[in-house]
Amino acid sequence: MALAPETIIEGYRVSFGSAVVDSAIAFGEACVTVEPSAWVKAARFAREAPKIHCDFLGFVSAIDWSDDGDDPAADADSDDADDTAKPAPPKAPKAQNAKSGDYVSPTGEFFQVFARFYSTQFAHSVTVKTNLDKMQAQIDTLIPVFGGADWHERELMEMFGIEVVGHPNPVKLYLPDEFEGFPLRKSFKLGARLVKPWPGAVDVEDMPDDTPVLDDDGNVVELADAAPAEGDSGDAKAPGGGDK
């Protein structure tokens, strides 16, 4: 029987005590943040605790929470936020945030390694996370618990520069051996964006002033069947529906 996410989190709290740093329920799924030292044990618990019994390895990956600033994408974002003088595009209504609960994005210089385990028997899941100091990005391998973690961890190593201790074959998975840098770190800049700033950023921001056609911007768009009105900018005006 599928366990409620609260029950799974409770199970972790009981078994791990203070090693559980944080927990959350995201869209009906349990998410537990543990100390790095309890990482492997937490995965083993997900697999072996009889009522949780998550036998299916979803993935192992990481998030780099340290936004280093001059990422073009991040720039565009912060411009949006600062520029109150302009008729800024509508922020998503507050009421809609209720769905994601009282979620607050973490801040600070750290990696968050996370793995998702799913129970094919009970159809519930648990996402186990752990926060790693950027200076000491080290984590134990999950291979003894889930053999399939092998490639996921190799990807983790080459993409984030996180050292997986005990990995039997710590070589690059996708990238050539001589590749330098860790592409999925936020400090790794996308070459194309360095050469040419993101054209999309300009496009979207200038529209409210420049184009009178879009006067009603900021309102919720009425969608008649014929109106080519969807969220993205350019191709909305391309002839699409008419010529079918």
Partner: protein, 383 residues
């Protein structure tokens, strides 16, 4: 006297054995081998006909989509994810837009949900038709592929008539679909599905009933259930090993909870079972589409969404049952128009990761059967 003769025979045997002792040979399969559906290299150590170890080499198709998603707006990301599993591009969009919609707190109108379901299942049919034809070729059966490709074209035409694209529809928007169905689509769909169902019967006789095909696939490349799950193998690959996991049934999305269909399973876990599950799933997909076109509600195809999609902060793992298995997107938003991080969990990546284990001690001719039956798309492995 007898003993001496026996001893001499033993001696001779031993000498032959010593003489035949071979060195391991390294056999490179790929990166351009047709059975790999893309550029995928397998470095196999073989001792005669027996494979002693296998090292898959990935990355020939690595396009860095996870990074690219971090510099694109949500509506732009669907363009990218179309190209992950290019044979069922439409199905790739679904988990992503569903995740974005959930984070945004909107839901696509029922008609859009039905259209999405229809097109996802069409994508499933078209990609499995490629599989069945291609798998036959790999095992020396040349005929089926002509039949499957002929009828797959019917399905692709239908997808094209709705979306404008055969392979990369890019038809989903956060909040609905780009357009409604064109006139005549439903009738055309019904007749195309009849053709596909007939094809399934034909292929079942032609290929699955074929003695050689059975000998090449039955009992070959067995994935035990527990091992498969541990490696995250999903889709028909794991259902052929006895699992009943199907995201469409376990955590229904779109309108799958309103539809009547069977989760196809098998317990044999071999190449034959995997292929058979896919053939059966084509039939189930037809069944789903028939129900969808019967039930298709009227109404708009786009929900009311802001002109510029800005997603409130949040994290969500949104998954769907793609033709190849469980595909999911872990979307992290810090607010704004651009995802902060998108982890793309693709089915083929996990399906292929079981290869080094699975190919251990296989025979070289079986290797092709096993590779073919796992049915992976390199774009889906490398992302």
């Amino acid at each position: 006297m007898m003993d001496q003769a026996r001893a001499a025979a033993h001696m001779a045997d031993a000498m032959v054995a010593v003489e035949l002792q071979t060195e391991d040979m390294t056999l490179n399969i790929g990166p351009q081998h047709p059975s790999t559906h893309g550029v995928f290299r397998l470095v196999a150590k073989v001792d005669g006909e027996r494979v002693t170890s296998v090292t898959p080499v990935l990355g020939y198709m690595h396009r860095g989509y996870e990074k690219l998603c971090e510099v694109r707006t949500y509506p732009q990301v669907t363009t990218i994810v179309n190209r992950i599993d290019w044979l069922s591009g439409y199905a790739n969009e679904i988990p992503f837009v569903l995740g974005a919609e959930k984070l945004l707190g909107v839901e696509a109108p029922p008609r859009a949900q039905y259209i999405r379901t229809i097109l996802s299942e069409m994508a499933r049919i078209s990609t499995f038709l490629v599989f069945i034809g291609g798998f036959g070729i790999e095992l020396g059966a040349l005929t089926p592929i002509f039949h499957t490709f002929r009828d797959r074209e019917r399905i692709l035409d239908l997808i094209e008539s709705v979306t404008g694209g055969r392979f990369h529809p890019n038809f989903n928007r956060v909040g609905g679909t780009k357009d409604d169905l064109p006139a005549g689509f439903i009738d055309e769909t019904r007749s195309a599905l009849d053709v596909v169902l007939r094809l399934c019967d034909d292929v079942e006789m032609l290929l699955f009933g074929n003695d050689i095909f059975q000998q090449r696939t039955m009992g070959i490349g067995v994935i035990p259930l527990e091992k498969g799950l541990e490696f995250g193998v999903s889709g028909a690959n794991i259902r052929a090993s006895g699992s009943t996991a199907d995201v469409r049934r376990d955590q229904p999305y779109l309108v799958y909870d309103e539809l009547d269909f069977d989760v196809v399973t098998d317990t044999r876990g071999d190449c034959y079972a995997r292929a058979w599950c896919r053939l059966e799933e084509i039939r189930q997909s037809c069944r789903i589409i028939f129900q969808c076109v019967d039930k298709l509600p009227s109404g708009p195809v786009m929900a009311k969404v802001p002109r510029i999609i800005q997603i409130p902060p949040g994290e969500i793992y949104s998954r769907g049952e793609n033709p190849l298995g469980e595909m999911g997107y872990y979307i992290v938003s810090r607010g704004g128009r651009i995802p902060y991080r998108v982890k793309i969990r693709t089915a083929s990546f996990s399906n292929v990761s079981v290869l080094p284990w699975l190919l251990q001690d296989a025979f070289v001719p079986d290797l092709i059967a096993i590779l073919g039956s796992l049915y992976f798309i390199l774009g889906d492995v490398d992302r």
